[in-house]
């Protein structure tokens, strides 16, 4: 599933790294991104297009929890339920114990 996350981050040390780290750790790929510091250097406006096999909703909530994230908007590439259920059987396999 492909979706685009637009967010405004506080421009603190490590802000962008934290967002990228969380995307990787939660098993999402970035297909394109752009980020720009605002004029007063207080914020970063970032826009990331992301792909993954997992449902987007839990990821979005993890991003929203980040201290730096001021606001966040998501655009989905396709219609449908984007998170509350596993889209297919393969997803539940991911969460099997060892």
């Amino acid at each position: 599933m492909k979706f685009t996350v637009s967010m405004r981050l506080a421009n603190t040390e490590g802000a962008l790294e934290r967002v990228l780290g969380r995307l990787r750790a939660r098993c999402f790929d970035i297909s394109s991104m752009s980020a720009e510091r605002t004029h007063d250097k207080a914020f970063i406006d970032a826009r990331l297009t992301v792909e993954g096999l997992r449902a987007p909703e839990p990821l979005i909530k993890q991003l929203e929890k980040l201290y730096e994230v001021q606001n966040l908007k998501v655009q989905y590439a396709e219609a449908g339920n984007h998170g509350w259920q596993y889209p297919n059987e393969r997803q539940s396999e991911v969460c099997l114990p060892l």
Binding site: E13, K61, K65, L96, P97
Partner: protein
Amino acid sequence: MNGAQILIKALEAEGVDIVFGYPGGAIMPVYDALVGTSLRHILVRHEQAAALAADGYARASGKVGVCLATSGPGATNLITGIANAYLDSVPMVAITGQVSSTLMGTDAFQEVDIFGISMPIVKHNFIIRQTSEIASTIRAAFELARSGRPGPVLVDLPKDVVSAEYNDSVFEGGAVKHLPRPEARQLHIAKDLISASQQPLLYAGGGVRIARASQELRSFVEATGIPVVTTLQGLGAVPGDHPLNLGMLGMHGSKAANFAVQQCDLLICVGARFDDRVTGKLAEFAPNAKVIHLDADPAEIGKLRQVECAIMGDIKVGLNFLHVKPEIDFWVKRCLANKEKFIWDYNAPTEGVYAPRFIKEMSDKAPENTIVACDVGQHQMWVAQHYSFSYPHLHLTSGGLGTMGYGVPAAMGAKMACPEKTVVAVSGDGSILMNIQELATLKRYNIPIKIVLFDNKALGMVRQWQELFFAENYSEVDLSDNPDFVKVAEAFSIPAFRIERQDQVADAIDRMFEHEGPVLMHVLIDPKENVWPLVPPGKSNENMMEAKVKAI
């Protein structure tokens, strides 16, 4: 006032009384400023133990635990303890020294990028670049650590920043962001779901301890009459001997608890997160149940399981609102019949010590409000199954990360936090050697914890899995050449004794509790004993394996 003195003042303003740490090059200005202040510093003998002790301190007291280490290896040694706090949502502030700002990024002596290294396992972290920002950053760190879903926060302090002078700092401690009240609409939906349910079940997790919501949970159970299962972290949310408590669910849970989960039509999840050790095969977990999920962290809701009703925010408010009594007599009877049917059997055909029975006896004999800290492995599961906890903060266990070596440092931290309570560390022959150096700390400060060391001459849990799931191909689990643990303890000037027969158990437990000061009891147990029952990996919770015959 220099940066280090500002740091100490800021910690004092936060109400910190004890700091666990280990000095070194880059953190020396802070240690210099520490002398003569109200902060009590406990010198551990490995930084990992500083982090784990701060974790134990925080879990037992509900306050923020603080640990301190130098740059480089000091900081990296904290990592396991920080990750442990992260996975179990423990409020902690870890302070690390760093090389001077001008040297950062030059591969200087004892320089590591601890900010980057710790990023995935902290709630947040900071590098302080200006002396003027120390006081406000420490305040923000504590606020973050204790607010919402708690977690560890790391603060990295370059040496030049703590050495420089600044005189205009403002010290305001104790900031906390309160949780929002749950949405009224969701509460009403939940109330309707409970009224309409025929087989409801309460599934309580570590969030109950974190929110200190045991009383609210108990009132809810009394008002509704709904049976309860708890997770490892939720043990004690309702008293172990409460009639409606069906025990722990999940991989090593009780049969009554797992059967109830699989059959229920409404699962009320309070501060738990559908962890894989709890659910078994997720797709078949509580297959007939609608779910009401109460949690402080919105990211946990719907993460692994679709919910009918999400109650985000303060679980105390949520629980207090939901006092409705559904018509469930038949269901409760069935649950209680199962509880009776699958009651633990402590009769073992052996003269040796049967660990589950030992723990049951210890539970019966322990003074009220005894804190039990566990290491990780078979003994941890036996404690969870057979020790009856009256409150969740009396059970300190590394649930999310499963950190061997957690027990002794955590018990140490808990004893520092609650000197009036008896504190027991239950450990295994594998785990104890991961932080054995802390016996020196126990001796130095005369921290009177009781260590119960179960010795089955093996890495028991791994051995059990190799026996059951790897065709008895025992690989690197033999510990038959263990050191003489009694002599090891005595070398650290910790009194110790050994037992190996069941008939010695009662006296030994009395002796341990009566002993003043730290003591270690070495308990030899059967190497073949396994933890039962067990949900095999990838199976649903109905498929519990049991011992065919007890090991002799």
